[in-house]
């Protein structure tokens, strides 16, 4: 049995994260290549949207990630707040920029998909507006943290904002059911059979898995940076081989 609590300190986690990063990065690259191959070469042309629908292989995975990363970020923020754990708070900070990036990509690919299919880049409907608010929540979280000088207080302030913002996630997710919108309903849901061809679904899921692996790799890279920045006065860093050389 591995003692997981051992890894809840930055000192123990730093080398573990370093070992894990290459594996997640390689998995992300391989899954993305297979996913794009399926998306561009195996999935057939869509009957209604022609080749333009292929944006789905990017748009849906990045949109899922934008919401999922927020939930994970809020989870670590809550753990950091409840158990006064530094590493959990660092993990929340490490996820925010990547979440913001996926949210931007969701809006960007959505605009490029909306223009040819709906005739407009943007509408102020519930789905698009709540996704934009998600971007502002990520940016607000980062801005608030960088505005507070003392790291532990910055963690606490950020955690409260992250937790309050969680209310936005179900609003995004259910917005297409609750309000009238140009945006189509969910392509995949937990309760119904997917409303798309199997091969398209496979391509989308591969891209979603690639995004997961990418997120883990990049968040571990960032949390290692945060550890180095915040713990620069700690003696244990002297033993690292990247510091010794």
């Amino acid at each position: 049995m591995i003692n997981w609590f051992k890894y809840s300190s930055p000192k123990m986690f730093y080398p573990l994260a370093g070992k894990l990063i290459p594996w997640f990065a390689a998995a992300a690259a391989i899954l993305a290549i297979i996913g794009m191959y399926v998306g561009f070469f195996m999935a057939p042309t869509d009957a209604q949207q022609g080749e333009g629908y292929r944006i789905i292989f990017l748009h849906v995975p990045v949109s899922w990630m934008s919401m999922f990363i927020y939930l994970v970020m809020a989870f670590w923020a809550a753990v950091g707040l409840a158990f006064n754990n530094r590493l959990a708070a660092m993990m929340a900070s490490a996820l925010a920029p990547t979440g913001a990036m996926f949210t931007f990509l969701s809006l960007w690919t959505g605009a490029l998909w909306g223009k040819p299919m709906w005739g407009t880049w943007w509408v102020w409907d519930a789905r698009l507006t709540s996704e934009l608010i998600l971007l502002f929540l990520y940016i607000g979280f980062m801005a608030l943290q960088s505005a507070v000088d003392e790291p532990r207080r910055a963690d606490k302030a950020g955690a409260v904002l992250a937790l309050v913002g969680v209310v936005n996630i179900p609003i995004i997710y259910f917005s297409v059911q609750w309000w009238n919108t140009l945006h189509q309903g969910a392509s995949v849901s937990l309760t119904q059979a997917p409303s798309m061809a199997m091969i398209m679904l496979v391509g989308m899921l591969l891209m979603a898995l690639a995004s997961w692996m990418y997120t883990v790799a990049i968040a571990l890279m960032r949390v290692r940076c945060i550890i180095l920045e915040r713990e620069q006065h700690a003696g244990w860093l002297d033993e690292l081989k990247e510091v010794k050389q």
Binding site: F41, L112, Q232, L237
Partner: protein
Amino acid sequence: MNWSSSAEFFAMGGYGQYVWGSFGVAIVVLCAEWLLLRQRRLAALSQVKRQSILREEESR
């Protein structure tokens, strides 16, 4: 196979600018994030090294 030529592939049935605009920007943004993080790591490491040297001198 969906495409009979590479020109057809890049045209994406007339949706080329939208499809490649999506995938292109995504690749650029992902690479930028990775490069920025590498820079951040190098900056953090040089700071840690400086502190490490200070600690060593103090203990002597």
